[in-house]
Symmetry: C2
């Protein structure tokens, strides 16, 4: 592969990422297809799949996330619901505490909080790729509510620790925080949601 | 009191609120004094106190909040730490579910998420007037961490339910949500934070 070929490859890749960012912002996560991104970027849809795989991975790449949160969640879910709260808390903190992933995630939450289009995009991505998968792992009539309670707790840590940087939450160590959060997440996932459940 | 007098009163009041908003934004909550706001508004500091009372109340008025969150918290704290999680969850949901208070609160969180100055202002107000008071009510070496964990859980509900409007969290009813949140808040306040506490 000569230098010309490499430059072309990198240009297509960047064109796709730029087209994806614009489309996710304008049409939301649900309303965006890999095919439409390919048309916008003037490349074949197969090339988008070749570079980025699924729509979820394309979204992660477009948001400059070094890991795909949906893949991380899928990995955490393979081991079942026992101790899932602990594994979720640790995976969440590991990603957010890593500066390479934390910075773009903070950017994502900040823009979702302030722009309606970004809010729609994040709500749809989180809803379809994270919360629906999490709910799908639970055998419970209130699985969706349980998943959003987990989401709300983690979103609050994201806001308090990484966006607003409220102390001592912002500098609490990983283990302290994971231990504090794990029972909360586990109860939301599989425990009693209200005294009437008892 | 004639119409002229009334107009003057209303002008002073608005001048004070505008000066307060500008100062809180520029200098943060901690760096703003009632005296400095009075100077900016070209009124006597006594008039600011007469209209708005304390700095906390001036902040609430400047942010267009129909209730002062610090007063609500003080009311909740008078009944001690037993069932405090439940009372906090209910007071929080009552305020945020009320459109008159909820809309300006959503505005406050949205601007704090996207602007550094607003983030500093909210962090300082929440830290000094909410979290420090909450921590002060707890007899525990990790009282500050406990208070920020409560704050993170509530901030997450604020973001998920009211800012991003993620379903079914956004339309879950008050009782369901209060029951789900109460044990979390109570454990953060007075329970075991980690298995090692057991």
């Amino acid at each position: 592969m000569g230098p010309g070929r490499r430059a072309g490859r990198s240009t297509s890749r960047n064109d796709i990422l730029e087209a994806a960012r614009a489309r996710f912002a304008r049409h939301g996560y649900v309303g965006t297809t890999v095919r439409a991104v390919a048309v916008d970027a003037r490349v074949d849809a197969a090339l988008v799949h070749y570079f980025f795989g699924t729509k979820t991975s394309l979204f992660a790449a477009a948001m400059a996330l070094p890991v795909n949160p949906a893949d991380v969640l899928a990995g955490v879910l393979t081991d079942g619901v026992e101790d899932l709260g602990e594994r979720l808390a640790r995976a969440f903190l590991r990603i957010w505490d890593d500066p390479a992933a934390g910075a773009p995630l903070v950017g994502l939450v900040r823009s979702a909080a302030s722009h309606d289009e970004a809010a729609t995009m994040l709500r749809e991505f989180a809803g379809q790729e994270m919360l629906a998968r999490l709910a799908g792992a639970l055998d419970d009539p209130r699985a969706e509510l349980r998943a959003t309670l987990v989401g709300a707790q983690l979103l609050g840590v994201a806001m308090g620790r990484y966006v607003l940087r409220i102390e001592p939450l912002a500098s609490a160590n990983h283990d302290t925080l994971a231990s504090a959060l794990a029972p909360t997440l586990q109860r939301y996932l599989t425990g009693e949601l209200s005294p009437r459940d008892a």
